[in-house]
């Protein structure tokens, strides 16, 4: 049976979610809870006139904007979630092909008719498409609460913020932007994903040290031999935080169909192939 057959691949993705539910679900859920509680506390503690001024300010800012135009502004509260997403994915990738070797459950996984390619690709797809979906689901609840709270505040100060339906649509659109941003950023960072998976599959211990150490070493060797800093500059050129956020559809298309993206995808694919190769044996 081909391990890329849909049912089997879905089972592999399900395994990733079940195994990493703390990283993928619990962590953003706790963040959402903490931020919501903090926001409610701040609202309850703020003086009435300040709140009224805040609601007034929002109503002016949203005035005349369509939900699509409002959506990028709704991405602002998602920034802590984006940061948490990257932190959790980093931890996940470093452990993805290491943890099961460490706890020896690799013998169970490898006793199943699942190819190494299927296993490694399931980790990549988890990062690119599955984890952002959980964040979107959690942010949906947060936005629902926020939009309701804003409308209630507006009602209490007799200010029409932007209309509940409009704000709700803007929230949905911003979640779409969040998902597309995360998806495209993951493709953009495919070389990093491949690099981390490669050392996760290779390292006998502390994959983080291997991943960082080898990168620094390669940079130093390049500098010593060629006197250039191509590697460092290339990574730096792809690590601007603004590159990870997509604010509209044309921006997404520009990001997706570029030579830079294609080059990154090729490098990422080579590194992922390396991870598949490293995964072959368990001794």
């Amino acid at each position: 049976m081909n391990s890329l057959l849909p049912a089997q691949f879905v089972a592999l993705l399900r395994r990733e979610v079940l195994e990493n539910r703390a990283l993928f679900i619990a962590a953003p859920a706790v963040l959402a809870l903490v931020l919501s509680v903090f926001a409610l506390w701040a609202i309850s503690m703020a003086p009435g006139e300040q709140l009224a001024a805040g609601v007034e300010y929002l109503s002016i800012m949203f005035d005349g904007l369509s939900p699509g135009e409002m959506a990028p502004m709704f991405l602002m509260p998602a920034i802590p979630f984006i940061m948490m997403l990257y932190a959790c994915v980093l931890i996940y990738l470093l452990n993805a092909l290491y943890q099961d070797r460490k706890d020896l459950s690799v013998y169970f996984w490898q006793s199943m008719p699942v190819s190494n390619l299927g296993t490694v690709l399931s980790k990549v797809v988890t990062v690119i498409a599955v984890v952002p979906a959980f964040y979107v689901a959690i942010l949906f609840v947060v936005y629902l609460l926020a939009v309701t709270a804003l409308s209630l505040l507006g009602l209490s100060y007799d200010v029409e913020v932007a209309g509940l339906g409009y704000m709700f649509m803007a929230a949905i659109f911003s979640l779409f932007l969040f998902y597309v941003s995360a998806f495209l950023a993951a493709l953009w960072l495919l070389p990093t994903i491949g690099w981390l998976l490669l050392f996760s599959a290779f390292a006998k211990r502390t994959p983080v040290l291997w991943a960082l150490g080898v990168f620094i070493l390669l940079g130093l060797v390049e500098d010593l031999i060629f006197g250039t800093q191509f590697l460092g500059n290339w990574v730096e050129s792809r690590s601007n935080f603004r590159q990870y956020i997509v604010l509209d559809f044309p921006m997404a298309m520009d990001r997706l169909f570029s030579y830079d993206m294609l080059f990154g995808l090729v490098v990422g694919a080579i590194l992922i192939t390396g991870a598949v190769y490293m995964r072959r044996f368990v001794d």
């Binding site: 049912a7 020896l104 169970f108 006793s111 008719p113 044996f281 368990v282 001794d283």
Partner: protein
């Protein structure tokens, strides 16, 4: 009878240590083969090589495939329980059934559930909450519900108490083995599986030191308890091993006519455990 495993000249090094040193053996379809050896003899490396988890040199075919090239295809025909292999601790029992059902084309969930129903394992418990014996029972239930050609068990009952060990082998023999599949078991507890086996492989220092069918052992090996006055005669027959027992000496002979041996004392077939010690001590003595 065709062979399901054919291994020729298997070699494997870990640094300076030769884990496998030109291993040659074959396992016939339908047999229950015991791979017996001391610690560090190469048992686990051999079994890992059979299921494509160890990169060894040499010719190796398992169920018609090279495990090093197509492990995932091979694992449709072969099941493996590793000595240290543990089921993922975060899985719940029903989740592990879901997983295997989704990825293994030969798994029967109904059969696994029937087997589990005869145990005390609750379906919604996490594996980390189960005892070691229960985890092994669960793993065996999974394996028994998969219709494969070859079952490879590496010290499957390691660390279990005698009750679980006995249940494990009883179940394996009575509920699983039907003569169509082949089982390869490595274990230290030779006495417990002796009656199960149809074939025997002794391994030491990465080499096979004995390769025989159980039914042939009585024709090849004899153990004779001999009084002190016959020691010299016994030594002349070239015993492979001896040990002193209560003022007498038990000699083990290889390929010596039993009628000749009966002149020295009562001749019997040695137990696998005694034969194991004899072959290994004998090999070391040489």
């Amino acid at each position: 009878m065709t062979d399901i495993v054919e291994a020729r000249g298997l070699r494997k090094r870990f640094g300076d240590f030769k884990a496998l040193d030109g291993l040659d053996f074959s396992v016939a379809c339908g047999s229950i083969c015991g791979l017996i050896g001391p610690n560090g003899a190469g048992k686990t490396t051999t079994l890992k090589a059979l299921v494509g988890l160890s990169d060894v040199e040499g010719d190796l075919r398992v169920a018609g495939r090279d495990p090093r090239i197509s492990r995932h295809k091979l694992m449709e025909e072969v099941c493996f329980i590793a000595d240290v292999g543990i089921l993922p601790k975060w899985f719940r029992v029903n989740q592990v059934l879901d997983y295997v059902e989704s990825v293994h084309p030969r798994f029967s969930r109904q059969r696994a559930e029937e087997i589990l129903a005869t145990t005390d394992i609750p379906a919604n418990k996490r594996i980390k909450e189960l005892s070691k014996g229960m985890v092994t029972q669960l793993h065996l239930a999974l394996v028994m519900a998969i219709d494969v050609q070859l079952l490879v068990l590496d010290e499957p009952t390691l660390g279990l108490d005698i009750i679980y060990r006995k249940e494990f082998y009883d179940r394996l023999l009575n509920d699983y083995y039907d003569g169509n599949c082949t089982i390869i078991i490595s274990t230290h507890q030779v006495e417990e599986i002796e009656t199960l086996l149809s074939d025997l492989l002794f391994i030491d220092n990465g080499r096979i030191v004995l390769d025989a069918a159980m039914q042939d052992l009585e024709n090849i090996y004899s153990e004779v308890l001999i009084d002190a006055q016959h020691y010299a005669e016994a030594e002349q027959l070239g015993p492979v091993y001896h040990r002193d027992i209560l003022g007498k000496r038990a000699y083990i002979f290889e390929a010596v006519d039993r009628t000749r041996l009966r002149e020295l004392g009562e001749a019997a077939t040695p137990t696998v455990a005694d034969l194991f010690v004899a072959k290994l001590r004998g090999a070391n003595r040489e």
